[in-house]
Structure formats: C-alpha cells, structure tokens
C-alpha cells in the first residue's frame, strides 16, 4: 500500500471482490431471476388458471372467504391479482397479546370460484426472490449478510472505477482471444456499459434495509420509541386498537372504488383490514407498486371498517422520502413493462457476468506462476473450487430446482420443501465434484451438465404438462413460452461456454498459454 492511490484502490477492489465475489454472484443471479418472479411461478404452477381481472369480484370473494376462515384474526391482507400474477392471495395474522407478532397464514385463492387453488405446492419464483436477500438464513441474519455484501459491492464498484482510469477509452477496446486480456476487457466492458444500473442497484439495496443496518439516527432522534419514527413516516400504519366489541365489517368493494377515485384511477395493490371482527375495524387500501417508479409505502386510503367512513388519504411524500422511494422502486422494478423488464434482466445478467469475470481473472492471473510446476498452492485451489461451484454449480442447482418441480409427484407431501432441498443438494454436490475434478475439467463437466439440464427443461415441460412450446406459443402465453425459451437459450449458452473451455484446453499447450497471458501490471 505504498504505491499510490490507484494501486491501493486496485488492491482493495481485488480483495473485496474476491472475498465477497462468490456470494455476490449468487445474490446477483437470483436477484436477476426475481425480475421474472411471477413468470417463474406461473411456469412452476401450470395448474393455476388466469382469469380476466375483475377486482370487484376478487375482493368480494376474498372477503367472504376470510370472513368464514379467519373472522377473529388480528389483520387480513388481500393481494389482488394483476396481469402478471393471476391468483388472489389472502393472508392473515393470528391475534395474540399486544406487542407480539402473531403467526401468518397464507392461502392462494382462485378469484372466480373463491376456493383455494388446487395447484402443486411450490415456492416458484418466490424462492429466488427470498434467497436473493435472505440467503436461506434465519431472520435477520440473511438480510444483514446480504446488506453487508451490498456495501462491499459498493466499495468494489467505486474502487473499480478509480482503478480503471481510462474508462471510456478502454470501453471501446476489446481484444478477443487474448486470454487474460480478453477477460479483463470483458470485465471492464460489462462493468462500464451498465454502470448506472450497477450503482443504482447497489446503493438501493443499502437503502432498502437502511433502517435495519443504520438505526443510530432513529435512536438518536426518537430515543427508544422507534415505533414513533415509523408512524411519522408511514402514518397509515398507526392503527386504532381493537375495542373488544364485535362489529360488522362493511363490504370492501365501495371502499376500493373511493380509493381509486382519490388516485385518479390508480391501481390498488393490496387491501389490509385491521381487527376485522371488531367495532374498531379499519381498512387500508394501498396503491399498487406498479403504478409509479417512486415507491410509496404510505400511499394509502384509510377507512373506518364498520361505518365505511373515509378517515385519511396519505399526503405527498417529502423530498427525502421521494429519494428513498425512488431507490426502492428502481431496485424492485415493479413499474417495468415487458421491454423494461427484459432490460432489467439483461442488466442483471451483465452484473452477474462482471462478478464472474472478475473471479476468473483473479485466479487466472495467479495461476500463471504455477503453470510450470503444475502444482497449485492450497489457496488457489480453494478459489478454483469455489469459482466452479459458485458459478456453474449454481446454474446446475437452478436447473435442478426446475427439474424437481416437474419430476416430484404433484400430490407429494412437502414437495415445495423438497424442491428447495433439491436445489441445495445439487449445489452441494457440485462443490464435491469441483473438489475431486481438476480445474478446467471441472468447469467443462459442470457447464455441460448445466447445458443438458437447461436444454432439457422445455422437453421436460412438454413431457410432463400439456403446456409445451407449441401450445404456449399458439396460445400467446408468453410467460410460459418465454420461460421455456429462456431455459433453452441458457442451455445453449452454457454449452457454448463448455465447448470454449474444452477447446482451449486441448488446443493450447500450457507454455504457450502462459505466454499469451503476460500482462502489464496496469491493474493490480
């Protein structure tokens, strides 16, 4: 760290990127998949029927069902279907002592029949979404770890920009088939090309959990009464307590209409009923996140639940709230239509690729010293194993997750958990495989397996359901067809990658490869 500012930043970039690279790769890839969360769920639950959207009917159905099943709950949540998510989701929270959080129960209803949807049990795209920020760890550790990773990503991004001095000139420099040079050029190109996306997605992920990871200012300003802060920011969450006298809830339909009139026809995302069986019931009609870029948690119209009287319309957001809401909204991309959603997906893949190329480069550069002896020191071998398992291994695990969805019997008990277990078992096996197979051979075999699995997904879908590509394309079911085609494309890409790896292995003798990798010490 004596060499100067840029060298010091390159050092920081290198090591921060390495230590968190594997985890960040998984976070980025699963996050990218989450942009198509609903579409993945649609593929994984092909039994769910889409109906023309009719919010009034959905609301009536949900209210009737909840009235019957959970009349004494502390709170109901009704999530209305939209064009991406065809099912009506109702959930409720059990009533417990004040100060404690009651258990949540969730049911997916058919918006026409009002009965629970009879579909195979599966987490669908929700699995990737949850993994993306909870990392399959108990609350709140996963959220902490993913936010810490985001901070490291932020540091790696900024130090990467500082390191990479000729940012725009180098962007137009791509030297293919030059070994290490090409990896660096590729790393820089994907990094710079979608730099605004990287900065937005990384900073916003810090903002999303900022009240969890940076609570000092809340404590300093509000003391121990942190609830008061959230009541200030989201006044709609400040609810009247239950009085303990039974009350009759008004029909929710008219409240829905009133709320939409307040928003000049904006859409409703969720309806919450507090203390539904109580005389002090209250109804919150919340605006759909897809309506605007700037997310507003508090965009709510509140009603008295027994009289139907309008209590409060949330006001405009202040500037800091708009900034925070923009970060949140941009990160989630709820507002994005099909084209923008694909752009999000591609940018996410570019971010994933940037992390992957960085990891490959770290190892490639250090392997050179050991080419002649052919013996790699333990730490390089460890990095290699983690590289293989975290990248090609994760792809295999994702494909296995989809395969498990089609192969496990539909009525199998706990099949949703088994799908998740299949994912992690497959991932674990790829670690073992990477340990026992040497370097490139490990890459080639895992990439090939991933290619076979992904290319097999559309075939498997055709064999196990009646919604194969011929049907879904003819029907215009773009979520189903898009999923199959994307899997096919991913499989072809993995096959190409495997082929490249294999060919390089055979074609280039080791010494020659080492020569082409001679490297100016510009970076690191």
């Amino acid at each position: 760290m004596k060499e100067g500012f840029r060298q010091a930043m390159a050092w920081l970039h290198t090591w921060a990127g390495l230590i968190f690279g594997w985890l960040l790769f998984a976070i980025f890839l699963t996050g990218t998949l989450s942009y198509f969360k609903d579409e993945i769920t649609h593929w994984m639950q092909p039994e769910v029927q889409a109906h023309p959207i009719d919010d009034a009917r959905s609301l009536a159905v949900a209210q009737a069902w909840l009235q019957q099943q959970a009349p004494t709950a502390a709170r109901w949540f009704i999530d209305l279907p939209d064009h991406r998510e065809p099912s009506l989701t109702v959930s409720w929270q059990a009533k417990v002592d004040p100060g404690k959080r009651g258990d949540f129960t969730q049911k997916v209803l058919d918006p026409v029949s009002g009965q629970p949807v009879q579909a195979r049990e599966s987490m669908g795209g929700e699995f990737f979404y949850r993994f993306h920020f909870q990392l399959q760890m108990p609350h709140p550790w996963g959220r902490w770890l993913s936010t810490i990773s985001a901070m490291v990503m932020f540091i790696a991004l900024i130090t990467g920009i500082i390191t990479h001095k000729k940012i725009f000139k180098d962007f137009f420099t791509f030297r293919p088939r030059k070994g290490q040079r090409s990896w660096l050029d590729g790393h820089n190109a994907v990094g710079v090309l979608v730099l605004p996306f990287h900065l937005m997605i990384t900073y916003s992920s810090l903002v999303i959990f900022m009240s969890m990871v940076m609570p000092a200012s809340i404590v300093a300003s509000y003391g121990n009464d942190t609830r008061a802060f959230f009541n200030d920011v989201f006044p709609a969450t400040d609810n009247a307590p239950a009085l303990g006298q039974p009350g009759q809830l008004v029909p929710l339909g008219p409240l829905y209409d009133q709320a939409r009139a307040q928003w000049a026809g904006g859409h409703v995302g969720r309806v919450v009923v507090n203390n539904p069986g109580d005389v002090n019931a209250s109804v919150k009609v919340m605006r759909a996140g897809a309506d605007r870029v700037v997310h507003d948690f508090g965009s709510t119209v509140s009603f008295n639940g027994t009289t139907g009287q309008l209590l409060r319309v949330s006001g405009d957001q202040s500037l800091p709230q708009v900034i925070g809401g923009s970060f949140y909204g941009l990160h989630m991309g709820h507002f994005a239509g099909p084209v923008l959603r694909w752009l999000y997906f591609i940018c996410g893949l570019a971010g994933t690729a940037m992390i992957g190329t960085g990891l490959v480069m770290w190892l490639g550069k250090r392997q050179l010293k050991h080419v002649k002896s052919g013996v790699m020191p333990f730490e390089l071998r460890l990095v290699e194993v983690l590289n293989i398992a975290s990248m090609s291994g994760l792809m295999i695990a994702i494909a296995v997750f989809f395969w498990a969805n089609r192969l496990l019997p539909v009525g199998f008990a706990g099949r949703s958990d088994w799908e998740v277990q299949a994912f992690f078992v497959a991932w674990g096996l790829t670690v073992l495989h990477a340990i026992f197979r040497r370097g490139r051979q490990g890459w080639v075999e895992q990439l090939s397996l991933g290619a076979v699995l992904f290319i097999g997904v559309p075939l498997l879908n055709a064999l196990t359901t009646s919604q194969h590509l011929g049907v879904s394309l003819a029907k215009g079911d773009w979520a189903m067809a898009g999923f199959d085609l994307t899997c096919l494309g991913s499989g072809v890409f993995l096959a190409w990658a495997a082929w490249k790896m294999q060919r390089r292995n055979v074609a280039q003798p080791k010494a020659e490869r080492a020569q082409s990798l001679v490297f100016k010490g510009e970076v690191n």
Binding site: K2, A8, L12, M214, A216, S217, S221, P320, Q321
Partner: protein
Amino acid sequence: MKRKTSLPVSYRLAVTSRLLAAVVGGYLLASLASVCMALWLPTSRADAVISGMLSSFVFYLLAVIWCFACRSAWRAWVGVLLPSAVLAAFAGLAYWMART
C-alpha cells in the same frame, strides 16, 4: 499490491489494523454522520432521519477508501476517529441544546 511468497508479520498486522479501522471505524463514522444529520438538518424530524440514513453509506465508503489509501495503519485510525470525534461533539451539542 504484489504478494510475495512470505509477507512479514508486521505487514499482515498493519493490513488487519486497516481492515478493522475500515469496518468498525467506518461504521462508527457513518453512524455518527447520520446522527448529526438527523439532529441538525432543518427539516421535519422523520425527514432528517431518512436523509441521515440515506447518505450514511457514502460516509462509510469514504472512510473505507481512506483507510486503505492513507500511508500507514495509524493514519487510517486517526483519519476515521478524528472526524468521528468531531461529529460526536456536534451530536452532543445538539442534545445539549435540546435539553436546555
């Protein structure tokens, strides 16, 4: 930074010290910066808190960069703790003014 086959212990300790300064000291600095903004910004209480939290990560970033860019591990600590002390004094002043 070139890694030699065996790095002296003093170097490793210095890097560890910088790392601690960056992670722990940086978090302290970021927290105190957000507290100062929460207490001093002339907006509503909730908005000041949000602004503090929103910008705290930039302070964290700057602290981390400083810890690895400065010339020695000692400077890393001084560079993080000195501004933290100033911020703490400002936060204390705000408390004291609110009290009286």
